[in-house]
């Protein structure tokens, strides 16, 4: 089990990077901007909120610098109107991904049930230990294969959409980049993480705009290596934490769980142990005051962050 993955910012990203828990109720964005030395306008990416992306007054109220909304979502909608083929292809891709997901869910459901049964036996039956590790290994295999299949579908549609040769997409990218010219930092909000990633990828925003970045909740998730969805409390939601796809990989070795106290059953050691042992990265729980930050020179600092250990226990994290 990879219990101590190395935690690092992507070596090619050499700006301050701050990952936060939820912000809307009690934002600390201004403080973070000050730590990053940002005194000028900042770009806000709130495409995860889809049609509500420009409902951003609370962010403007929370910082002392001008905020420029990237309109990443709205401008993509305009692109789809001009070039409906892109939307058709993306919807087709979505259907393909949904079909993969359905089968993946089935596999995880059964392996998860076995893992839970074995967990109950671990203390009283030593014979359960090896099968427990074996089952978690199988879940990891399923995850790896699933991720490959998802990436293959995404690559296939990238080829078919051919964004580099498609005028409408190039214009979209130019329109977004024009808006962000002169901004000194990126603020990345949460929302629908899949939508956010789709728009970030369509625009290639993070390739073209490298600035001090402050991301929170779903925005912070999107910058990781892998995207996992979770919620122990929604009625009828699937029980298994779901691996969705690759993220932007601006940081490594960490898996972030925003609103952990509201969305994960932190009393359930079995579920958390499965989580911690299944995922290749450290499982960090983010709540309102949590902060994980890399300075411009790459020094890591954390505050109010908890980690799930292999036994499903939750502890304060000190890297």
């Amino acid at each position: 089990m990879p219990t101590s993955p190395s935690v690092e910012r992507h070596p090619k990203f050499q700006h301050p990077l701050v990952l936060l828990g939820q912000q809307r109720e009690s934002p600390r964005l201004q403080k973070c901007l000050e730590h990053c030395g940002v005194t000028g306008p900042v770009a806000l990416i709130s495409a995860g909120w889809e049609e509500d992306e420009e409902d951003d007054q609370w962010v403007r109220d929370a910082v002392d610098v001008p905020v420029v909304n990237s309109r990443l979502y709205t401008l993509a909608d305009e692109l789809f109107r001009q070039d409906p083929e892109v939307l058709t292809l993306l919807r087709e891709r979505q259907d393909r991904l949904r079909a993969l997901r359905e089968v993946n869910e089935l596999q995880l459901e059964h392996l998860g049930a076995v893992a839970r049964e074995l967990w109950q036996r671990l203390e009283r039956n030593a014979a359960a230990v090896a099968p427990w590790h074996q089952t978690l290994g199988q879940i990891q295999d399923v995850d790896s294969r699933y991720l490959k299949s998802v990436s293959a579908v995404i690559k296939e549609y990238d080829r078919r959409i051919a964004p580099q040769q498609r005028r409408s997409v190039l214009e979209y990218r130019r329109a977004v980049l024009d808006r962000l010219r002169g901004c000194q930092a990126l603020l990345l909000a949460g929302g629908h993480v899949g939508v956010l990633l789709n728009r970030l990828n369509l625009c290639r925003l993070l390739k073209h705009v490298q600035l001090p970045t402050i991301a929170w909740a779903g925005g912070a998730m999107a910058l990781g290596e892998r995207i996992y969805f979770y919620d122990h409390f929604i009625p009828h939601a699937q029980r298994e934490v779901e691996l969705s796809r690759q993220g932007m990989a601006l940081y490594r070795g960490l898996q972030l769980f925003p609103r952990a106290a509201e969305r994960l059953n932190l009393e359930d050691h079995c579920e958390l142990a499965i989580l911690a042992q299944r995922l290749p990265s450290r499982c960090l729980l983010l709540d309102q005051h949590s902060e994980v930050a890399w300075s411009a020179t790459g020094e890591l600092s954390v505050a109010h962050v908890r980690v799930v250990d292999d036994q499903g226990e939750v502890q304060e994290w000190t890297p």
Binding site: E51, D77, G190, G191, H192, P235, H236, R259
Partner: protein, 379 residues
Amino acid sequence: MITLSPEDIQAALVAGDDVLKKRLAGQRFPLVSDSRAIFLYHGVADAVALQHWVYGLPSRIDLQRLGQTHWWMLTLDLPRRSRIEYKLVVRRDGHEHWLLDPLNDRIAHDPFGGNSVVHMTGYEEPEWSQPQTASPQGTFETWSLNSRALGGDREIRMYLPPRYRPNRRHRLLLLHDGDDYLRYSRLAAVLDNLITRWEVPPLVVGLLNPQDRLAEYAASRAHAAFVVEEVLPEIEARYPVIREASGRCLGGASFGGVASLATAWYYPNTFDMLLLQSGSFAFTDIGTHHRGPVFDPVVKFMNRFRDAIGQPAKRFYVSCGVYESLIYENRSLIPLLQTAGFQVKFEEARDGHNWENWRDRLRHALTWLFPVPAWFYYE
């Protein structure tokens, strides 16, 4: 929590009417403790009875007069987490009066007026059904349709959700007795809350209302044609809804459940999802039924359906109160649907055949039928 026992009440009464009134001050009525409820009535009467709709108990249970006073009392054992609707029947001078319990301000309204309600220990009115003025709210539009199938104009009310966007493809829920769901099940508040929390996607909801309910909803082919051949195309022409079965759900309660199942059965592959609450799914294995002539077409349909289940939908949410006589018909539907390979969620509640029972099930129903967008949102 109860602080008084029947013995306390009797003892206080011996000390005098005023003493009892003082002891009762500030209490919520009926007095409830664990699985016991004490009903009290104060007034001049020849007899007082509790009229309730709990199938399995005598429908009328007498309150006992306390000595020669004008106090009447009944102690009843009712399971925890129950929610019971009732009235008091007061007989005086040869006349009978059905009353809401004057001591109980908890009232459930329905198309027939209202009933007093007792919440047993463990039952809580769901917070997600409470209107939230600060949250975004859906909007309503109403238009009418000249129906060839049913004859005459029909009004259709539409609920357009928070985050309704003309350029999106929304899922569609069509509900029988739509206005009753709005009035008695707080449907608008439920939808607003669940949609705002991303527990269900922003649904467009079509609210259907009958003119001759017992005829139209009793597995009528004309009604099915109205829904599928007239209402559905009109909604699809007016609103950005997903134009395939996978985005459509049809639902209703009681006879509205029958209308939903029958419509989906007559028009297979039109709706992938069905919401069936306390469906009046009466059937016979042999011989005749005893539910009265309005059920004749229902029994005929249900017998045909049970014989050849077809492809009415793929995903079913079925609920029923355990205090309804229909619990047996609903329970027996489940293995039938499961054996046919459909996805089925069945839930029972300690409640009766009423709109608040149906309201309380809506969160589980809608999150089951319309899988959870909250899964993807991280604020």
